[in-house]
């Protein structure tokens, strides 16, 4: 089969082209951040390599606590999201299988982080929807209680908000990975040995799946450690997590603080590497410790606990998200709505009218950016994967793994440098420049979603196709694409929602000329009109929801074995 690849120059060029499209901006961006961190920023007449920015960073008040908060909320949210995702998928095997999950959780996944955070804040604030529903008849609260449910100094609200948002992503990753291995037979065998469905899945299937979901998991970890928009809405304020502090410094009128911000951005990168390294080490230790437990045989009480917890987690995640979206919906049509009224005293469509008038152009930009960047990403990814499939993962093809870099490197660590690069190229504040910057973040997710399903495609189909006289290209178009129709569409929809949610790249590279729904919604969320913010957040959620619904409406051909 390698012969076939030699005949297709486009495919051969795909991996290097993809890498160049990515590593170029990321490397230039990192350089543009690392140099100032060590005292090199000619625009400010700073040309003396030194450790001074680091000294100032370590002396800045609140940085130590910001680092602790970052690690605690990032690791905490990832553990929580993984645990609930595992429980949810395990429990889903008891009766109806994963069907209810497939129908519901992806929709939560499509809701952009910012919209989810605003909804969660509207729900859990002491004056929020949840407190209003039970006040004053149950609580006796005539005024909002003075409770620390939001922006708490321990970052708990942020941790739960992040976990709530990332859990659906991990559930989807687990389900996607499971559909690639023959779990059905294995589970059936386990049941004849007296295992319950959930325990069997946990002990027999999960250890196999874990390796496949490791990368999405690390992406979640890196994201949770460096998130900005959710942390602004839900996180602690004094001091905030490191990423928010960095953005403040990058935006500080005292331009000299940019050097400190750059040092902090390098520190942020270090934290992520440290967290991933720690996670990896704990994985190895846990795997050892669990070996005897895995072999200990079935336990009915464990099975019951698993099912209960799984159902609780599913209800919790789904319920909280729906209530949050419900609060958004109510606020978007609310006139006057004062505590402790459970429902608005008047309803009006003024907020929607204002949003329709002000946000139609940003919505069009958002749609175009998301559609083009996810299509471009899909084309590049399919070309790379087809190349890899035909040649086998040679060392050179493994370079493709580098395309995941934007997932693991915090955006704030390279966006300032990237902005400078784009200005040099005359690409800043232009649509192609903005599209490119979105592609940098969209492509890794598309690759992540497609890589395993694509390469795990049962080779016998392809062998059959080839034996029947199909050229590799014909096999690709006539067999692979139809078989992978569903994962391809879902990957495109995920890419679409990633583009819709981009905040920092749009601000840094778009030069403010290309406002999108996300930038406009964050501006509104920081303003004083909650009704407009709610309407904008819902509109923001609507686009990716529609894309995902369309992708999921398409059925896969029923050719696979197993279920």
């Amino acid at each position: 089969m390698p012969v076939a690849s030699a005949r297709s120059p486009f495919l051969r060029l795909a991996p290097p082209l993809t890498i160049a499209l990515f590593l170029g901006p990321v490397a230039a961006g990192l350089a543009g951040t690392i140099l100032p961190a060590f005292g090199w920023l000619p625009a400010l007449d700073v040309r003396q390599l030194s450790l001074e920015p680091w000294r100032q960073l370590l002396a800045a008040p609140g940085v130590g606590r910001g680092v602790v908060l970052t690690l605690a909320s990032g690791l905490g949210a990832t553990v929580l999201a993984l645990a609930s995702a595992v429980l949810i998928v395990a429990a889903s095997h008891e009766r109806r299988g994963t069907r209810p999950l497939r129908l519901t959780l992806p929709f939560l996944l499509a809701v952009p982080h910012l919209a989810s955070a605003i909804g969660t804040a509207f729900l859990v604030a002491p004056s929020g929807f949840a407190a209003r529903l039970v006040s004053p008849w149950l609580t006796g609260w005539q005024r909002p209680p003075d409770l620390l449910t939001l922006n708490d100094p321990f970052g708990l609200a942020l941790t739960f908000g992040l976990a709530l948002r990332e859990c659906p992503f991990l559930v989807l990753a687990l389900i996607a990975a499971e559909s690639q291995i023959a779990s059905g037979g294995r589970l059936a065998v386990a049941r004849t040995f007296g295992y319950g469905a959930a325990e069997a899945w946990l002990k027999l299937v999960l250890p196999q799946l874990y390796g496949q979901v490791r990368l999405p998991l690390y992406a979640v970890l890196a994201f949770a450690l460096s998130v900005v928009d959710m942390a602004v809405v839900l996180g602690p304020t004094a001091p905030p997590v490191l990423a928010v502090q960095l953005l403040r410094w990058f935006n500080d009128p005292d331009l000299a603080l940019r050097l400190v911000a750059a040092a902090g951005a390098v520190l942020q990168l270090g934290l992520i590497l440290l967290a991933i390294g720690t996670w990896r080490a704990v994985e190895t230790v846990l795997a050892r410790l669990c070996r005897s437990w895995l072999l200990a045989g079935p336990s009915p009480s464990f099975e019951r606990a698993l099912r209960l917890l799984g159902r609780l987690a599913f209800t919790g995640v789904l319920g909280t998200s729906i209530l949050g979206l419900g609060a958004l919906l109510l606020w978007s049509v609310a006139g006057s709505w004062r505590f402790p009224a459970a429902l608005p005293s008047q309803l009006q469509l003024a907020s929607w009218a204002a949003v329709a008038q002000d946000l139609s152009w940003p919505a069009a930009t958002t749609l175009l950016l998301a559609a083009l960047s996810s299509l471009a990403a899909l084309g590049l990814v399919l070309a790379c994967l087809e190349h890899e499939a035909r040649t086998g993962p040679k060392p050179r093809a493994r370079v493709l793994a580098l395309a995941y870099a934007p997932l693991l490197i915090p955006q704030v660590s390279f966006l300032f440098g990237l902005q400078v690069l784009f200005v040099r190229l005359g690409l800043d504040a232009t649509f192609p420049g903005l599209l490119w910057s979105h592609l940098v973040f969209v492509l890794p997710y598309v690759l992540l979603m497609l890589h395993d399903p694509y390469l795990a495609l049962d080779p016998r189909f392809l062998a059959t196709g080839t034996v029947l006289g199909g050229a590799p290209a014909r096999v690709f178009w006539r067999i692979k694409l139809p078989l992978l129709r569903r994962p391809i569409l879902v990957a495109a929809a995920v890419g679409f929602s990633v583009s819709v949610a981009q905040y920092l790249p749009t601000v840094f590279v778009g030069g403010g000329r290309w406002p999108t729904l996300t930038t406009e919604t964050l501006t509104l969320a920081l303003g004083s009109d909650r009704r407009l913010a709610a309407a904008a957040a819902l509109l923001l959620a609507l686009l990716p929801l529609a894309a995902l619904a369309a992708a999921l409406a398409v059925r896969s051909p029923r050719l696979r074995h197993g279920r």
Binding site: L41, P42, A43, L44, A60, P61, G62, R65, A125, P126, S127, R143, P144, D146, L148, N151, D152, P153, P236, T237, A238, P239, R248, F250, N251, D252, P253, D254, L255, R258, G335, S336, R338, F339, A354, D358, F416, Q419, V420, V423, R424, G426, D428, A429, V507, G511, G512, R513, P515, T519, E520, L522, T523, L524, L526, G527, S528, D529, R530, L532
Partner: protein, 395 residues
């Protein structure tokens, strides 16, 4: 497009603004589109800017696009990145809503175009004598590098349904907070409103207010600022949420007041409470007050970056913002409620009438009850104040 810009830059060099008249500027501005980078968190202000754009398009054929910022410093960062990349022409920011720290930083780093205010015919209507902050921004002389747009005076709001008698001094505010735990707070510095609140505590602490106009170093600050920390330490445990967290911005504090989580808020625009009440975003029982000793007053401006692509258009817009008609509309509480920078005595009778008919709104203090105007301290005070606050309350 870029080629056109480069050609324009070569064919139409603009060496400062000295040798040309405003008529030349108007002629060259024709057909330009000005990208106005302005904080976009208030629908009323955004609507006002949209009106300005419609007028400049109709009157001068100058289009206006508001680039809505979450924070003015985002635009400062962009101009800096353009300078870093060597782009001295055709920059993406044409006009910038600015004052204080951001202005000082841009002026010091040579990121601003000018001086240009003497070119603007309407600048002569500005009350530079009666409103000295139109020429001195946070103790930094403007030197014609920014054109005044509106006046600001710090005011506090209270919910009269829950607080019958608002405190008239910081001591009374502390006493009230101690007896009503959890009902008062201020935005976390370095938020603009939060830092300004701290400056009032500073004014109480420093015996000679004139000292605040001079730069200060860390040692002198440490000696002078002790009473600031004493006041804050006293109220901190009794603040909203026990002082372990703070609202992120003045806007966030307005929401807390609207939700009934606190009884006070604060703003730099004396008419902000009225305007929010009219928009249904604060309870109708909210009223304004100031401290007996006075509150800080300043001015906000528009400036043009050194590399703006449409400097002429930006000057035409800056001049239109000072048009009596535009200033009167801006002061109307139903539109925005932002006080004018103009000298009403210098206006024609017809223009003066535009201002005289304006209603104050339900919660705005009349000018004679706004109390003494305190000048902004030198920026070095604010930097040390913010840092000291972070060291104590945000560790």
């Amino acid at each position: 497009m870029r080629l056109v810009l480069v050609l324009m830059a070569v064919l139409l060099p603009l060496h400062g603004a000295t040798a040309e008249t405003f008529a030349d500027v108007l002629a060259r501005a024709r057909g330009q589109t000005v990208y106005f980078n302005a904080w976009g968190g208030s629908p009323q202000i955004n609507d006002y800017i949209a009106w300005v754009g419609r007028e400049t398009k109709a009157r001068f054929d100058v289009g206006l696009v508001q680039v809505k910022l979450g924070d003015t410093a985002e635009a400062v960062a962009r101009v800096l990145a353009e300078k870093e990349a060597g782009r001295t022409e055709g920059g993406t920011v044409d006009l910038l809503w600015i004052n204080g720290e951001n202005f000082r930083a841009m002026k010091e780093k040579g990121l601003l175009f000018g001086p240009f205010t003497d070119m603007l015919p309407n600048f002569r209507l500005v009350d530079t004598g009666g409103k000295p902050t139109t020429l001195v921004d946070f103790t930094i002389p403007t030197d014609g590098y920014e054109s005044p747009w509106g006046m600001a005076k710090f005011v506090l709001f209270y919910d009269s349904a829950r607080v019958p008698d608002p405190p008239a001094s910081l001591d009374e505010l502390a006493a009230w907070t101690l007896t009503h735990p959890g009902r008062f707070t201020y935005p976390a510095p370095p938020d603009f409103i939060g830092s300004t609140f701290l400056k009032h505590v500073l004014y109480e602490a420093v015996p000679d207010p004139a000292r605040l106009q001079q730069p200060v170093d860390a040692d002198a600050f440490a000696a002078l600022a002790t009473p600031v920390w004493r006041w804050l330490d006293r109220v901190q445990p009794h603040l909203w949420r026990g002082g372990v967290t703070y609202p992120a911005s003045g806007q966030a504090l307005h929401r807390l007041l609207d939700d009934g989580e606190v009884d006070f808020s604060m703003a730099f625009n004396p008419a902000e409470a009225s305007s929010l009440i009219l928009a249904g975003r604060l309870p109708e029982s909210v009223r304004s007050f100031v401290f007996r000793a006075g509150t800080i007053a300043n001015t906000h401006f528009v400036a043009i970056p050194f590399n703006a692509a449409h400097k002429e258009g930006a000057m035409v817009v800056a001049n239109f913002l000072l048009e009596p008609e535009a200033q009167a509309r801006k002061q109307d509480v139903r539109v925005w409620g932002d006080p004018t920078v103009l000298d009403l005595a210098a206006l024609s009778p017809a223009d003066r009438v535009r201002f005289e008919g304006l209603a104050l709104g339900p919660a705005t203090l009349p000018p004679d009850r706004l109390g003494p105007a305190l000048p902004e301290p030198h920026p070095s005070w604010m930097e040390l104040l913010e840092r000291g606050w972070a060291e104590r309350y945000a560790r």
